[in-house]
């Protein structure tokens, strides 16, 4: 494990900077170390969601983080964070470098970042994994879809940021960054779900070819995915109305993947004395090349014990999937939004609720196209009503309970629900976190 970590150039850079700064100061006084560890229990009714066996209830839901930050000078900050999580069959506490970068705040209106850092693609994108900072356990999945998490964790690149006060109008805060995403988990649910769908489609297509008895997908191999040319721009207006901010984020990227789809085909036996069908496994290379564009509008009002927040997102992925010698154009416009409210009753108890809506194809919100294709209309959307209770048992120990009433199957995994989806389902989560 250590060997793997040391191979990572970013961590190495961080270690050099950190060591240099400590030696330069001759002290560890400015080194700040924080962390948290959590464990959860997740159970669903009617459909499996997030985890493959969620209907049975699962304890495979936890995370651990250790972060280091130092300020070698008043303008220079450096830091790194190690992060690991257990999320069903994904991750299994594989340790990643969540972020590691140097930050030079030249002036309050102009700072620079280099390294791996979190993106400001939405209101809570930088803290999506840090549920101790909020009341809900899961952020609204319409905007913070867990299956897309691997594409939004952090950027390896450069960034500019700053905050400009304007007399009488509040403050304007901006962030702009450019780089690429480091996809840690090449077998993440985000990709395997797509691989599964494409391979199933290829097999179905082959089954219809005269002379083939049947064709089935038997899995994928040599899968690789990468995201390049990521550009993120975020502008937030901290209005004169105390605690109210609103803003806009725009990001684009190029997403490429390649894998081999292995199709098992059965042909009629050429030998009349032996009717056993002949089995042939064909490997079909599949390439995907897509442009992703996301626009997000957001607002949040924090006033004393109240927090109100909402986001609206338009997301378009378009490109070409090449399967062997055939090509297909893909364009998927998606739309999502949510409204959320939270109230802090006292220092140890808070409640929150949100309503989150996701459309898997914003040109077909009612699912008419799906019905025409022989599928239920409710595959077109996912509407989630969620309530959470948070208990701060001590200064460092949090316990949360959360319930989701979900209508529609727009974000459910076919891989987890081979027999199709029920229209309505429930999701119940318990989670406890210790932090320091």
């Amino acid at each position: 494990m250590l060997k793997n970590l040391l191979r990572n150039k970013i961590l190495l850079l961080f270690l050099i900077l950190l060591t240099t700064s400590i030696f330069a100061q001759g002290t560890l006084d400015n080194l700040s170390i924080h962390g948290f560890v959590s464990r959860g229990y997740l159970k669903t009714t009617n459909n499996n969601y997030l985890l493959a066996d969620s209907k049975d209830g699962s304890l495979e839901y936890g995370e651990a983080t250790l972060s280091f930050m130092a300020m070698p000078s008043s303008k220079l900050g450096i830091g790194a964070q190690l992060y690991a999580r257990d999320f069903g069959s994904d991750d299994n506490f594989f340790v990643i470098i969540d972020w590691a970068y140097g930050d030079y705040r030249w002036y309050d209106y102009l700072g620079f970042r280099v390294g791996r850092f979190k993106n400001a693609t939405s209101l809570y994108s930088k803290i999506r994994d840090i549920d101790i900072t909020r009341v809900p356990i899961l952020l609204p999945q319409s905007v913070y879809d867990e299956s897309g998490r691997d594409l939004a964790l952090a950027i390896d690149g450069v960034g500019l940021y700053g905050r400009i006060p304007v007399s009488g109008l509040g403050d304007f805060e901006y962030e702009a960054s450019y780089g690429g995403y480091n996809i840690f988990n090449q077998r993440s649910k985000l990709f395997t779900e797509q691989y599964y769908t494409i391979s199933s489609d290829i097999a179905a297509g082959m089954s219809g070819i005269p002379g083939i008895i049947s064709a089935n997908s038997i899995g994928e191999s040599n899968a690789k995915a990468k995201v390049e040319d990521v550009m993120v721009v975020n502008l937030t207006w901290h209005t004169p109305l105390q605690g109210f901010k609103t803003g806009f984020s725009y990001n684009t990227s190029k997403f490429k993947w390649a894998f081999e789809s292995n199709i098992q085909m059965l042909f009629p036996s050429p030998d009349p004395t032996n009717p056993t069908p002949v089995e042939v496994v064909q490997t079909i290379p599949v390439l995907g090349d897509f442009d992703i564009g996301t626009k997000t509008f957001f607002g949040e009002w924090q006033f004393n014990k109240f927090t109100l927040a909402g986001e609206y997102r338009k997301y378009v992925i378009e490109g070409i999937t090449t399967m062997d010698i055939t090509e297909s154009d893909i364009r998927i416009p998606r739309e999502s939004y949510y409204g959320m409210g939270a109230y802090q009753f006292n220092s140890w108890f808070a409640l929150s609720g949100y309503y989150s809506v996701f459309y898997s194809n914003s040109d077909d919100k009612d699912g008419d196209l799906l019905v025409a294709a022989g599928k239920p209309d409710y595959y077109a959307w996912q509407k989630d009503l969620c309530f959470t209770a948070r208990f701060d048992l001590t200064q460092n120990w949090i316990f949360k309970m959360e319930y989701h009433a979900i209508n529609g199957a727009g974000q459910l995994s076919q891989d987890f629900n081979a027999d199709g989806f029920e229209k309505d389902m429930g999701l119940f989560i318990l989670k406890s976190t210790f932090h320091f």
């Binding site: 930088k126 900072t133 105390q242 802090q344």
Partner: protein
């Protein structure tokens, strides 16, 4: 439609006025090092200092805010009046800053005496103490704009 827009305008205006006039009666005073040329700040400016949105005084000196412990009644009042949040919300804000790598919270000290000592020893220091606390030499009490 016109009436609706007017109503929204007056509601927003009322909320802005409400949110900027809550500092009229405070149970604390905001202090800086006596060498600091600044003698008055708006509520928004103090807020920016304590959330580290503004990090330098006008002369380029680093702003060094200091907080009382989270169970202090003075901190609770300061947080409510100046930051417009609960102490829990401010802690959550700093946890978000820490774990996203965006920044570190102000140093926390145990009592007013420790706040005075910190501000006295740091030219860029800014803190708050109970209104009844005598600040002594080397400290300047700020007025609100």
């Amino acid at each position: 439609m016109k009436i609706k827009m007017k109503l929204i305008y007056y509601i927003v205006l009322f909320l802005i006025v409400l949110s900027t006039t809550l500092t009229a009666q405070t149970s604390f005073k905001v202090i800086v090092n006596a060498a600091n040329p600044v003698s008055s700040l708006s509520k928004m400016e103090v807020q920016r200092c304590f959330l580290k949105k503004t990090t330098q005084w006008e002369d380029g000196t680093q702003i060094q805010p200091v907080d009382l412990k989270s169970d202090s009644p003075v901190r609770e009042q300061f947080t409510k009046d100046i930051l417009n949040k609960t102490v829990s919300a401010v802690k959550s804000y700093w946890q978000g800053q820490i774990f996203s790598g965006s920044g570190l919270p102000p140093q926390e000290v145990a009592n007013d005496r420790a706040v005075l000592e910190y501000v006295r020893n740091n030219p860029g220091g800014i803190g708050y103490v109970s209104r009844s606390t005598s600040v002594g030499s080397g400290i300047k009490v700020l007025t609100f704009k």
